[in-house]
């Protein structure tokens, strides 16, 4: 995309003005430098207004009631579904609203174990048994690992994983051994929440489909930062969170191909998701309602729709170009500090909006504390990717992750604060440089 440029200073100032929280200060009056959008993004006024407007003007339990508010609330909710689906290139009825991305991934994982014991016709693709395999990767967030571990435990299937290479990419040389006729599901992340690695989803999906496996993609770190179009991506399911893409907390999204959603058993059961109920048994509504038991999170879905409209108005490609420039500037700045070790792909390789690093000899918790003292908010720890950190030989890393409102001034604030770390913890910078 050669014509897509980062935001101008004027554009960036205007964007910042749309986030009320950026006006506050932290730690004794310091301006907030928020570099934790990978954990959760802040919310622009348009999103806050939309959620509030739902409650003030249309509030009702959707898909119930014969009154005008119920009609309007249902319209708002279904229209939000269409908006969010359109954002990722999907028809509306292929989008399921969940509580969060974790629930979306569990919904798919439980479809496999629920397929086994139910009566009636079942789709072989969702039946797991001893001898079958589930393939994940070593770079997964716990949300795309633990549900598959549990699924294997319930069904007797075997969990296998693609290792991570030294440059932060998946070691695809292992794929012929790992992805076989036994593989029923291949679940992997689009963009690593730690390394920033962008995985080749389309290629991986083709190879998985060639052996008959279903493909589940964790899109939490891609949807807010780069264009995701499920009509060409190749995946069978994607999951992402609303709160990481400028939407409210409490709403996540599962997209699934219609023919798969149709044959999948439900996850949570109860009201709203039924077709007919007797005392003995029930039949279920068509997807997506089949997967939305109980009164749904309509206000949050409406807020998320406002968020994706807001992102579309800015342009996801411009957001990507802007954040890529920030990532590059940060990588360049960190490269000038030999006492910092960046994990993940080297400069020049396409990345998501996150950069994680280690200050050798100083625990990430301590690094984060020094940054926080300067008003710079980052994430420290294993970022819900503990197995990956074992591969990286790091107990914890410090992660800066960018959002649409960040600028080069934020990168500089981070680097300036980071430069206080060696002195505080007695790291000899010159010795490291010489070594």
């Amino acid at each position: 995309m050669p014509d897509v440029q980062p935001f101008t200073d004027r554009e960036l100032a205007a964007l910042r003005g749309e986030f009320p929280i950026l006006a506050r200060s932290v730690r004794d009056g310091r301006p907030l430098v928020y570099l934790d959008s990978g954990a959760t993004s802040h919310k622009p006024t348009a999103v806050l207004d939309a959620e509030r407007a739902f409650y003030e003007q249309h509030n009702a339990a959707v898909h119930r009631g014969a009154h005008q508010l119920a009609e309007e609330a249902t319209d708002e909710f279904e229209s939000a579904r269409a908006t969010v689906a359109g954002f990722v290139g999907a028809p509306a009825d292929e989008v399921v609203f969940t509580k969060n991305a974790t629930e979306a991934l569990n919904l798919v994982a439980y479809a496999f174990s629920n397929a086994a014991p139910t009566d009636g016709p079942k789709d072989e693709r969702f039946v797991l048994a001893p001898g079958d395999e589930v393939l994940v990767t070593e770079m997964e967030h716990h949300a795309n690992l633990v549900p598959w571990q549990e699924l294997c435990r319930r069904t007797g299937a075997t969990l296998r994983w693609v290792p991570v290479a030294g440059d932060g990419s998946l070691d695809l040389s292992t794929l012929p051994d790992l992805l076989t006729e036994r593989t029923k599901v291949f679940a992997f992340t689009h963009v690593s929440n730690v390394l920033g690695t962008v995985n080749p989803v389309t290629e991986l999906a083709q190879r998985a489909h060639a052996v008959g496996a279903l493909v589940v993609v964790d899109a939490c770190q891609s949807v807010p930062h780069l264009s995701v179009d499920v009509s060409t991506l190749g995946a069978d399911f994607i999951a992402f969170s609303g709160h990481k893409v400028y939407g409210p907390m409490g709403v996540g999204v599962l997209w699934g191909r219609a023919e798969l959603l149709e044959v999948m058993p439900p996850f949570l059961t109860g009201g709203s998701m039924i077709e007919l109920v007797t005392m003995e048994r029930s039949t279920y509504a068509p997807a997506p309602q089949k997967f939305e038991a109980g009164v749904p999170n309509a206000a949050q879905a409406v807020g998320l729709a406002a968020a994706v409209r807001w992102v579309e108005a800015i342009g996801i490609d411009r957001i990507h170009a802007h954040e890529a420039a920030l990532v590059d500037a940060l990588l360049a700045g960190l490269a000038e500090r030999p006492w910092v070790r960046v994990v993940g792909p080297p400069r020049g390789v396409d990345r998501g909006g996150a950069v994680a690093f280690v200050v050798d000899g100083v625990h990430a918790h301590d690094v984060g504390q020094v940054l926080d003292d300067a008003g710079v908010a980052v994430r420290v720890g294993h970022h819900c990717a503990w197995p990956l950190h074992r591969v990286l030989d790091a107990a914890a890393t410090t992660r800066a992750s960018f959002g649409v409102h960040n600028g080069l001034d934020d990168v500089q604030s981070l680097l300036d604060a980071l430069d206080r770390v060696p002195a505080i913890f007695g790291i000899d910078v010159d010795e490291r440089r010489a070594g």
Binding site: V362, H363, A364, H365, Q369, D373, H382, A395, A396, I424
Partner: protein, 160 residues
């Protein structure tokens, strides 16, 4: 920032009584799942009941400066002391750390532990500072010491 007192940094760089030693009555492994900090801790106790004495505390602490320094201060404060006194020190440390800055700590009771008073203002770090201490009380319990007189019977740390 008042969090990183010289005393804490010194203890974290050169932790006292570090390493795992024999003999010991119990060994525990505690982790802080939010950040991956880990401590393996052994206690050796001699005597019974009111006469019980902490003969040794040895440990392998991996984590941030606060959690490593805290284990170091713990060993410094409790080795050679009667168990009842050691539990009193734990109580005083915990009271200070969970006071949100209201309690500054008595050096007579917690020694170098007073350097951790600033940690109380950072709720996310309180667990780091308590990791070694909760491991210690857990290890005492497993060594057969009655710790029911303290409110530490159910340590907040995660045991594995």
């Amino acid at each position: 920032m008042d969090l990183y007192q010289e005393l804490i940094l010194d203890h974290s760089k050169r932790p006292h009584h570090a390493g795992l030693r024999e003999p010991f009555d119990a060994e525990v492994h505690h982790i802080n799942p939010t950040c991956g900090d880990e401590v393996t801790l052994r206690v050796d106790v001699s005597g019974e009941g009111a006469d019980a004495v902490v003969t040794d505390v040895s440990y392998d602490a991996r984590g941030c400066s606060i959690s490593v320094a805290s284990s170091s201060v713990l060993a410094e404060e409790v080795i050679g002391r009667p168990v009842t006194e050691a539990l009193g020190t734990f109580e005083a440390m915990r009271t200070m750390l969970t006071s949100k800055g209201a309690v500054s700590g008595d050096e007579e009771v917690i020694g170098d532990g007073v350097a951790f008073a600033g940690v109380a203002k950072y709720p996310a770090r309180v667990k780091c500072a308590l990791l070694g201490w909760t491991a210690f009380t857990d290890a005492l319990a497993r060594a057969g010491v009655d710790i029911s007189t303290t409110s530490s019977a159910s340590p907040q740390g995660v045991s594995s």
